[in-house]
Amino acid sequence: MTADAATGSTSPFEATRIVSTPTPQARDPRDWTSEMLSVARARDRECFMRIYDYFMPRLCLYLRGLGAAEMIAEELAQEALLRLWQRADMYDPSRSRLSTWLFRIARNLHIDRVRREPNWIQVLDEPERMDMDDESGVATSAESYAEHVDLKSRIDKLPAIQARLIRMSYFEAKSHQEIADELGMPLGTVKSSLRRAFLKLQGDVRGTP
């Protein structure tokens, strides 16, 4: 899987983005903060639909990867984006990047749905509300645009097998054992490669070297 053409490895906006407060002008498509703030403050439908147009097909691909049939993936992606619209007033860019929030909502909707299948009953009301995050009050500048770009390049720089395992881990409805079987690797190796990759990337998402 490759990032699409809109992802540059460098950005002319990088320097200003860190210091400026978000403005409602069109921005780099990778930074949705200002659109989301317009949605939250002014119920701006156009801004929301820009977010929708970008994320809808990407969430569908993620959900299909988790094993949802095409129609179900579309249904869940629609639902996730509707929640984003409905809960927009809870959005706080200092706490969470939009994509993190949306990812979590879509993932939870998928898990809830799986759990409602015949053998399962619902287990958790996993919080999709930001006020329940541990990091409330701690400004996560770690999710600023610039650091996100760094994270992307850091993923690109991971050893190929680690990058592959990361993507398989997030986008395929497979257990670590199934990944190990498919790649002909011992389970312990799959886990330790993922562990190393996570620890490297975590330094980036937390904004520490």
Binding site: F48, R58, L82, R107, L187, L201
Partner: protein, 223 residues
């Protein structure tokens, strides 16, 4: 309760991504209910997931379908906002020693003292989850000062201590601690004297007991 033994980052990632088996996920959620450290790890893993979703290519949805989904979304923007569930009162709950962690309620009920233990072997009791999918989810009660059979695990096992404690080659495990094991580990937990050790465990695949215990235990617990 500040746990000392945490989830493996690979488990955190699978949980955050939504790809962990549901049984293992219940034990993860139980651990997260008492561990701020691992909650932060999950959060970091969700950031990585968000980034990957944002950067990936878009699914191909044919144009008429895309238009009709878009129109449906525009129509729904006026839908009523569903109410949020109330914020759970974690402090009050964790203060009650008889109350099981919330993620376990659908499988074992809310009360520790109301559990209906089933004899498994001398000093060992077990309860299987009321409902589960392909793997196993169960609670174990092991008498104080007891040595468990030596075993390894076919795939992944997660065990979270709720009460009492045990030690094995990996260390000392007390309430809140989670043991995140895979097939590389052969272990023989010994419970501490004084109180029985109660834990919740999930397996991706059958336990492998060597020797006579395999014949004795496996049919009983159906592991």
């Amino acid at each position: 309760m500040t746990p000392c033994h945490h989830l493996d980052p690979s488990t955190v990632m699978a949980y955050a991504a939504g790809t962990l088996s549901l049984e293992l996920g219940v034990v993860v959620a139980t651990h997260l209910s008492v561990c701020a450290h691992c909650r932060r790890q999950v959060r970091d893993a969700e950031r990585i997931g968000g980034l990957l979703v944002e950067q990936q290519q878009a699914a191909t949805i044919d144009a008429p379908r895309r238009e009709s989904l878009r129109a449906a979304m525009l129509e729904r923007l006026d839908d009523a906002v569903p109410a949020l569930p109330p914020v759970p009162q974690n402090d009050a709950e964790s203060a009650d020693p008889d109350r099981l962690p919330k993620p376990l309620h659908p499988y074992f009920g809310p009360s520790l003292s109301a559990l209906k233990w089933r004899w498994m072997a001398p000093g060992m009791y077990c309860i299987r989850a009321r409902r589960s999918g392909g793997g196993s989810l169960f609670m174990l009660k092991i008498a104080a000062g007891k040595s468990m059979p030596l075993h390894s695990h076919g795939r992944s096992e997660l065990t979270q201590i709720l009460q009492g404690a045990y030690s094995d080659a990996l260390g000392h495990f007390a309430p809140g601690d989670v043991a995140d094991l895979d097939s590389d580990v052969l272990h023989q937990p010994v419970t501490v004297p004084g109180v029985p050790c109660i834990c919740v465990a999930a397996l991706d695949a059958p336990l492998r007991f060597p020797g006579w215990l395999a014949r004795k235990l496996q049919p009983l617990v159906g592991l």
